[in-house]
Amino acid sequence: MKTKAGRLNKTTKNDLITYGMVILAYIIVQILVSTGHVSSLIQGLLVPFCTYAIVAVALNLTVGILGELSIGHAGFMCVGAFTSAVFSLAFKQTMPAGPRFLIALLIGAASAALVGFLVGIPVLRLRGDYLAIVTLAFGEIIKNIVNALYLGVDSQGIHFTMKDALSLNMEEDGLVLIKGAQGVTGTPNDSNFTVGVVLLIVTLVIVLNFIHSRTGRAVMAIRDNRIAAESIGINVTKYKLIAFTLSASLAGVAGVLYAHNLSTLNALPKNFGYNMSILILVFVVLGGIGNIRGSIIAAVLLTLLPEVLRGLSDYRMLIYSVVLIAMMIFNWSPNVIFFRKRLQQRLTAGKKTGKEEA
């Protein structure tokens, strides 16, 4: 008779390992924190771990499952971060923290999804390099607009302008929410490690279930052969849009988490620019394209390592870029793949003959 574990199929088992890993890591960290074994430096990194893990999983959905490269995911993060931060700031006094964060989360995810959908309609008609460059362009557009935007609210309603704070024409009691390049200041600090881990698990549930669903299989069929998928009646644009919008919305969730961990939020090249998009891509590539668990591990490791090894911080991006190139050549080069196969064959052949001799 088969045991219960034996009856689980491979993908379910794999997913359970992923969930287990996150929960176990959470428990271990909580124990370490309560016994005082975690330095304040690492404690400050706990929420960023979750933020980057979520956005890495989100990008992996686009790169690994949909098979299209997006280098504008920091832009979606930016949308989620700013919309939610504006909401939380506007209702800072009038709402309790719990429901406020929940609504902020929904707003962030929904607005990122909306932007992802709007961007996806034109972008997903393109493929490969064009798609990548358009997502990059879009990310820069978002960053530019956010940096130039002034938004305020008073009894007359909402005011916004692209010029300066004075041209908002606000009443005396009005509250300026976004101050152009200065961004949003005074966002309530609603996120903590527990919230982060819960969001990460929710993200995992959504993404892993999506991958194994009928929709997810259709998306992967498009990735593997678009024309074949089209010829068996899969609506390519629809499924691509679904996956892309979902990915954007999850990146928005990461943005919400990011915004509520900092009291000042502004769109710098460092946090929402091209560099951030590349960093997320490094997480995905290092963790393994299409491997959700790998993305989480890579995001946590690559966030932790530079903080622990301060001396290497100058070389951090240099090392990342070398790793990126080396990983791509090792995993994708036709010659290297051939060489690895031959090596593997020789090794297994060697083992077999060894056994026979014994």
Partner: protein, 293 residues
Amino acid sequence: MSFAAHLINGISLGSVYALIALGYTMVYGIAKMLNFAHGDVIMIGGYAVFVGVSNLGMNPLAAIVVSMAVCTVLGVTIERVAYRPLRGASPLAVLITAIGVSYLLQNIALLVFGSDTKAFTNVVTLPNLELFDGQLVIKSVTIVTVIVSVIIMIGLTLFVKKTKIGRAMTAVSEDKGAAQLMGINVNGTIAVTFAIGSSLAAIAGVLLCSAYPSLTPYTGSMPGIKAFVAAVFGGIGSIPGAFIGGILLGVIENLSKAYISSQLSDAIVFSILIIVLLVKPTGLLGRQIQEKV
């Protein structure tokens, strides 16, 4: 007069974009890959001239030649080490590698030269052209940039159409397999393309830094991306297209900076890319490529 001045500044910036876009479009047309590191080769070219002129006291012209040599070697090395092993792999892998190379170059420059802005000395020392009793001043670097980019555009067109290696490039861009069967050295041709593109990048770097005299490790990345937009705008793979796209983009960027908003000019440039790809994905002078099953 201010409109004319903005227009001329736009044409000047546009010629630099055009030069960079020529490199992009040649590599894209032949190797079918987006060489993300092209903008950073420009930056290296700028630093090579900077070191030559400021640190070694070289004659600017000699420094430009050295810089072209450095960039050519760099371009061919990048192609050999990073891109050639991935020929035949998925476009996604090639693109990610190219991004990695771009990052690598930026960070090497950051380590070697530091993050501080270097004041680039203008290598064009001709007098400025003054029109209408000095109401409209055209900088000499603008004139040189426009002339150089026109000459290079015409030269490249002739090179591709008339020479043996240029025709080999056209053949490789049409069909790699068939070109190989005809006895064309495909890898060699692609390497030559990278060499030409990179030496153009060196010239573009010098002109860019002469017009906007500040040099940082990130100098090349934004013009590089915008030049790609220009190449797409003009029709990727087309040499005159890259030129026209570059000029138009430079003019649009400068006019929107002057009359709409300086903060939003980048956003406007990138919106153009999205609109072009929606309305006419092949660009102004591009050809429709049928996808085979």
